[in-house]
Amino acid sequence: MSDLGHVLVLAGGLSYEREVSLRSGRRVSEVLRALGIDVETRDTDSSLVPSVLADPPDAVFVTLHGGAGEDGAIRSVLELLDVPYVGAGPDACRVAFDKPTAKAVVRSVGLRTPESVTLPKETFHDLGASAVLARIVDSLGLPLFVKPARGGSALGASMVATAEDLPAAMVGCFAYGDTALIEKYVEGVEVAVSVIDLGDGPVALPAVEIVPDKGVYDYAARYTAGHTEFFAPARLSPEVAAACAEMAVTAHTALGLRDISRTDLIVDAGGHPHFLEVNVAPGMTETSLLPMAAEAAGRDLGTLCRSLLEQAATRSADHPAG
């Protein structure tokens, strides 16, 4: 039996990924309730602080995606409330959530990540978009991948095959954020590697390979069951699978993450993995990758979530890992 008394699952929030977060929250709550745990699910609104103060949970599972859930803000508040939670601390989240910063960190420890440039929309306004974009194409080549520097679920992200398509992709990206990350597009196999740490150091779960029907893992492909084929474990040779696992664990460690993370990467034609981004609050929906990886590893999702919560509950909230 678990020692956990009362657990809080945070889901919803005001980010673009609210709907996904609500789904993740429902799933985590369900699997925990099935284990007999007393679970309360809450949105992050003005009732949060008073309710946590009135009835502090033993631990919090944060299933908020994007924005305050991943940029460290909510975790800072949980620290202030002296409530332990699953996942990385606020400082580590701030670094990991900002994709260009996370790329710089993992590059500094020797991981391969696509060449890129990061620019706020003001730069294009002030210097003239066409000159800057032309320089980007000259420097990085084509195709490119454009995405908001912060955020997830492929919102505002698109692949750019020709220079003519780049301005429209930039406009689409700036709809979701004020800074764009423009990456050299690496063709290959899309893979996600989840990492968990239950006290014995970070361990990679089996890699999950993503094969979207339409070739693009966009919002519809992510959240409509049946629109993407997943292979868990990924169809990789043992050596390549090991390289992917090592990349995810190295990124998790280098970024100072804790408990749980998911690294998205691409394996190129030569079998080399390239780091794309890391998620500090991985999706937990029915179509999400971490639950698939857990299943492939023979781990029950509920038991895994419970272990993470138990571990968090024993941790003093006074000493954040971030």
């Binding site: 919803g12 005001l14 980010s15 673009y16 990924e17 609210r18 709907e19 996904v20 609500l22 949105d43 609104d45 929309k121 294009f124 306004h125 978009a129 066409s130 679920s153 919102l155 505002g156 698109s158 301005p167 429209a168 930039m170 406009v171 689409g172 700036f174 709809a175 979701y176 290959g188 196999v189 390979e209 094969v211 919002y219 519809a220 992510r222 959240y223 409509t224 069951a225 049946g226 629109h227 993407t228 084929e229 997943f230 292979f231 868990a232 169809r235 990789l236 040779s237 050596e239 390549v240 394996v267 190129d268 034609a269 030569g270 079998g271 029915e286 179509t287 698939m292």
Partner: protein, 441 residues
């Protein structure tokens, strides 16, 4: 054995698709996919966001204590009837009351011609079910009600839009469309029209055009489906005369208590020529066996004992104030190049944004600025509507409407600047449902 391939990969037979039935769905389920736009509406349900997106009537204005007593009394006095199955055509007394309501719009009909439905949405579904084979043409105003377009798509109808102007559907365009379709050998089954305070355009079919529309459809042998949920919510003068009032044989009229009382009862109706009515009753029974007797009797009790005409009048005043708040703030705040309709009733303003802008692309930034609207593309079956958006004023209070418009104006200005910077429109492919669920405020 596994086999080594490129990417250092080993081949495996099949992956998981999460959904084991993925290759077994009917063709009509193709469009039912997750949508970015729909995800954004999830944020709009938070109280921080001024939602100009939903079309929810302001039921808070009802005397809820009175409705509560009435419902309690109904169960206490007539529980065994109210909680029992009912007939497929609906409660006879309620059908008489419905005829009295329709008389306000010039319709003379008997209760025998009325079929009660689960909201007028079900009437629409049943009409489509009994008339449409896959590929048949339905004519609809462009733009048109999203719930109707969804129903037509579910029955694999081919929707052809007929343009409107500030006086509603353009008769000459209707005639032209019919001629073109006839030349192509396409089979037009009915014209779907919302003549009063149209959803989403907010415009009303002018009186002189009503007869023209009826004549054109009569000549072409095309049935008219007149959907009239907002007809009694006009801000000026008497209700317009219904199309059905002048052509009992050529029009199926759809009515609803959702806007004049409350959508939670889910009581609407269809008034149809005899032969169609008989089929509607059978279709109704096969769809839901019988509708809620409880709801029907509650609505009947409300109509019999409460000053419902006065209540509609007070709804009109409330919505008029909100319409005024929206129009005056649009006038004061929207950047040059924006244009909008000026509804004389109902819930909606239809706005066109400046050339080069795409309303769907604006939505994420709008949500970040805590205001929501519905992009225009959801109201068309083809690719029209990219520069349009529906703004509803029915639910938020006037000061919230003004605040919402202020935020939206700022977002549009930012978008204009961004487009100017990149000198482009966006043309991103998009799949899925672009409109919010019915419960969105």
């Amino acid at each position: 054995m596994t086999e080594e391939t490129d990417h250092g990969r080993t081949a495996a037979a099949h992956g998981s698709r999460i959904d084991n039935y993925v290759d077994r769905y009917a063709a009509r389920a193709t469009g039912m996919v997750a949508s970015e736009v729909r995800a954004l509406f999830a944020v709009a349900s938070r109280p921080e966001v001024v939602s100009l997106a939903g079309g929810m009537p302001y039921v808070t204005a009802l005397p809820l204590d009175v409705v509560g007593e009435l419902v309690a009394d109904l169960v206490a006095r007539r529980g065994p009837v109210a909680l029992q199955y009912g007939s497929g055509q609906g409660d006879p007394h309620l059908r008489e009351q419905i005829c009295e309501v329709m008389r306000l719009e010039g319709i003379e009909a008997g209760p025998d011609d009325v079929v009660v439905t689960v909201g007028s949405q079900q009437a629409l579904d049943l009409i489509t079910r009994i008339f449409i084979d896959p590929g048949d043409v339905v004519l609809a105003e462009g733009p048109s009600y999203v719930g109707a377009l969804g129903t037509f798509a579910a029955y694999q109808a081919s929707v052809v839009h007929v343009p409107m102007d500030e006086d509603g559907l353009i008769p000459s365009a209707l005639e032209e469309t019919l001629t073109t379709l006839a030349r192509m050998g396409r089979r037009v089954k009915f014209l779907y029209t919302i003549p009063n305070f149209q959803n989403p355009a907010g415009v009303t079919l002018a009186a002189e055009r009503r007869r023209q529309v009826l004549e054109i459809c009569q000549r072409a042998g095309v049935l008219v489906v007149e959907d009239n949920p907002y007809g009694l919510l006009g801000f000026d003068g008497e209700p317009m005369r219904a199309l059905r009032a002048d052509d009992p044989d050529g029009v199926v009229y759809l009515g609803s208590f959702s806007k004049t009382l409350a959508p939670g009862f889910r009581v609407g109706w269809a008034l149809a020529p005899h032969a169609i009515r008989d089929k509607l009753v059978l279709a109704m029974e096969s769809a839901v066996l019988s509708h809620s007797t409880f709801s029907q009797l509650a609505v009947g009790q409300y109509l019999a004992t409460q000053p419902w005409r006065e209540q509609i009048k007070s709804f009109r005043e409330l919505y008029r104030e909100r319409r005024d708040a929206m129009l005056s703030s649009l006038e004061a705040l929207m950047p040059p190049g924006c244009a909008w309709t000026r509804p004389a009733g109902g819930f909606f303003v239809w706005m066109t944004v400046p050339e080069g802008l795409d309303s769907k692309a604006i939505l994420p930034r709008a949500v970040a600025e805590r205001v929501a609207f519905v992009p225009g593309t959801g109201f068309f079956s083809d690719s029209q509507g990219a520069r349009q958006m529906r703004l509803s004023y029915c639910y938020p209070q006037p000061d919230r409407i003004r605040e919402g418009v202020r935020r939206l104006a700022g977002v549009i200005e930012q978008e204009m600047e961004l487009r100017a910077t990149f000198g482009t429109g966006s043309a991103r492919d998009h799949f899925g449902v672009d409109t919010p669920g019915p419960d969105l405020a």
